[in-house]
Symmetry: C2
Subunit: 351 residues, 2 copies
Amino acid sequence: MHSIPLAATAAIATTFAGIALADDDLRAQELREDAQYMFEPIPLSMPDMPNNILSTDRIALGTMLFFDPRMSRSGVFSCHSCHNVGIGGADGLEVSIGHGWQKGPRNSPTVFNAVFNIAQFWDGRAADLAEQAEGPVQAGVEMNNTPDRVLDTLASMQGYVDAFATAFPGEDDPITFRNFALAIEAFEATLTTPNSRFDQYLMGADTLDDQELRGLSAFMDQGCASCHAGVNMGGQEYYPFGLVERPGADVLPAGDRGRFAVTATVADDYVFRAAPLRNIALTAPYFHSGVVWSLEEAVAVMGVSQLGAELDEAEIADIAAFLRTLTGEIPQVTHPVLPVRSATTPLPEDM
Amino acid sequence: MHSIPLAATAAIATTFAGIALADDDLRAQELREDAQYMFEPIPLSMPDMPNNILSTDRIALGTMLFFDPRMSRSGVFSCHSCHNVGIGGADGLEVSIGHGWQKGPRNSPTVFNAVFNIAQFWDGRAADLAEQAEGPVQAGVEMNNTPDRVLDTLASMQGYVDAFATAFPGEDDPITFRNFALAIEAFEATLTTPNSRFDQYLMGADTLDDQELRGLSAFMDQGCASCHAGVNMGGQEYYPFGLVERPGADVLPAGDRGRFAVTATVADDYVFRAAPLRNIALTAPYFHSGVVWSLEEAVAVMGVSQLGAELDEAEIADIAAFLRTLTGEIPQVTHPVLPVRSATTPLPEDM
């Protein structure tokens, strides 16, 4: 123990530390490169939309429609009721509450960065945000309206008549249900959250601490990134919930067979779109069933059901810490002043 | 018919027109002076509050609380649900829908300029906006929460812990139900709507057209201004609904005896606070019962019930046209980003 003089011990320790640091640097560089290969930062500019024009006028109209509870039959619910821009673009409920206090079938997915998903809804049954926007307004358990009644409502208010005319220039009859949906899509396309700490890390900044870096490493090594990759860290592909081991009926209710309802294919039984993980720290509760409130518990469930891995407590904590770095800059939305009703505006119903 | 030469006729006409114009000018000046005596423009600056401090931090906290649906037991309703800043500060419903799809007892009054009312609620049972704010959050048919559960919710989120500390500096335990109410009041005090066309007229501009001026004149001559005067054109005194003739049970339901429930005094039977008329064009439907959707019909009902006057159609149209000049500049509100829940945040209940 005492055969090496103190000075020499210190020299050896320095050398060891030097080697260790070099190794750490190398590993850190590899980790960042792996991450850059698997993931992509949220872009700063709005995406190009193949079927829509993101003009200022169209976005302004979409903002009005998104926040207008008169788009629902009762006059109580708007898109914003379940996709609250103050609560991570979701509603913080197990499943949403809609018309007549009915429960919706699934947890409300965030509208933030939804423009980057390959398709919309948990089962991907809508090709894009415009197609999605036509759904809840008609769903009996959500806004319970009809396209005709929506159009009657819009046409009855001069403010909407003018706004549709400027948002869809050159159209003889701009107030259509398709244009209603396109305007909402245009607004929703603005709801992106760039510059999360993880995105800054991907761009070369040292914004993650040791635990978060261990979490990132585990996220890739354990295979989470196989499904949760790309710009939205998910939202691109469909997988059976219970790829390795089906979770209990509390988390995966037997009555909701996911994408099977869309494709009627046995291979799609209990298949859902891998959830995008952007801003996941803001959007509890988790899963389509919305029964899991803790991010750590959600990570543990995923480990067992999708990877067949009993993650230990430290690893779960690391991955959860990493996931909390995915919170981006939240869009600042000025609440729109909505058009004034007229004598021909349909009255609220079913109250 | 032809005894006066054409040139002479023209000269006489000019003279007559000159006299008529002079008379008109005089009448116009008198009308404006009468109006300036009866009414007051909405001030540009926030009012001083005797029991509150309108600091930026307190207003910011109040904005969060006002928009946060987690202040309700279910997590569905916020103050903003029934006092929508996009719909004239009200909800456009006959009566509001609350917890469990229950109907509230009365039409939601606008939050805009409510700071100028002598007291809050249709029956004036709350002395100020802070006292008012403590009501709906606890009402079983509205947000159905309890003060303790609200405080537990607030204390569970670091964002609220920090925001209360900065909004109420120097307090050892800033998260109190009273401070919750004071912060909401501070935000609501910012929701004023200056510079309506009528206010600009009061300040000397010629912003009203002939019909609107006739309407203003009738509004004062018929006696409407006896109850609807001052800065808020109402909101200052209590009067029986049916001062001259009690309206039918559709407009004045027998079960709601108004201020009688507050004072238990027979003189207060069916007594309500005169509604403030600011932005009245934005806040249909009308009256505490919310059953009248047309401003013209509301004017007619008031004529009969409060003044004993069967106003003719032209006069009703004139008064309604005048009332539409009371729409001011609507406050621009940026939707707040709300604090993130934690493991100790109470879960939504009763869904």
